[in-house]
């Protein structure tokens, strides 16, 4: 299982999303490889990913950058809310 957290600059916000996604997976007892990426490199970073985590603001840009992909794009509202991230990940992969 590969999960990619995506933000605009690849600094800061995607790293927060990665850290909190790992915490959410831990709580759920799921294991996955979570990496952080920016929009410019997401097509490569997410080539073999099943799930992409990003904000509502960036979801359309991520979808456009990916082109054809089977990865599910999950929109996270509150990057610090491990419960929200966990619920959305569980619905997707649990």
């Amino acid at each position: 299982m590969r999960i990619v957290a995506v933000c605009g600059a690849g600094i800061g916000t995607s790293a927060i999303l990665k850290v909190n996604a790992e915490r959410a997976l831990d709580r759920l007892g799921l294991s996955a490889d979570v990496s952080a990426s920016d929009l410019a490199t997401v097509a490569v970073a997410a080539a073999d990913a099943q799930v992409i985590l990003t904000s509502t603001e960036l979801a359309a840009a991520v979808r456009a950058a990916l082109g054809r992909s089977f990865a599910e794009i999950i929109e996270v509202h509150n990057y610090f809310d491990v419960d929200e991230i966990g619920e959305k990940l569980e619905a997707s992969i649990g």
């Binding site: 933000c7 600094i11 800061g12 790293a15 850290v19 509502t56 509202h77 509150n78 610090f80």
Partner: protein, 154 residues
């Protein structure tokens, strides 16, 4: 996991900003004042939002302003600006913003530890409101578990 130090010069409690650009500029000014960045970093943080939208509003009431590493980043740094009147960034869920955290990193690897420490502080959902209500730099540091100088106990 430790946060970058948060000296008084990197904290502005009760700032006035008329819009999101003003709020980000206040964060840029705090980063410049603390010696982490040159003044141009503020424009680059604004540029990230102009290019990608308000995704930097990562939680209700909180913007994490940042830009890529660059020559105007003198060393990694963090700042906190609280706003007397909250401003809208244009985020569909998390507006209006009361607290702007500014982040500057000199390389992409360096920031992972400090971001993890930030995530620890903000995983408490009450922290953003308590930061917004803080009246001194000491209160801000206590809420984030940050120190005024590197290497000091929190």
């Amino acid at each position: 996991m430790t946060l970058p130090s948060l000296p008084d010069s990197a904290i502005r409690v009760g700032a006035h900003a008329s819009d999101w650009r003003g709020a980000v500029r206040a964060a840029g000014e705090a980063l410049r004042r603390s010696g982490a960045t040159r003044a141009s970093y503020a424009d680059r943080m604004i540029g990230v939002i102009e290019e990608f939208g308000a995704y930097v509003v990562v939680a209700p009431g909180l913007a994490l302003a940042h830009a890529r590493p660059g020559p105007d980043v003198l060393h990694g740094g963090l700042c906190v600006v609280t706003l007397v009147e909250p401003v809208a960034f244009g985020h569909p869920h998390n507006d209006p913003v009361h607290v702007v955290v500014g982040l500057a990193v000199s390389n992409a690897e360096e920031h992972v530890a400090s971001v993890a420490a930030l995530a620890n502080a903000f995983n408490d959902p009450t922290v953003i409101d308590r930061l917004a209500a803080a009246s001194t730099p000491d209160e801000v540091r206590a809420l984030l578990g940050a120190t005024a100088r590197a290497g000091e106990p929190a």
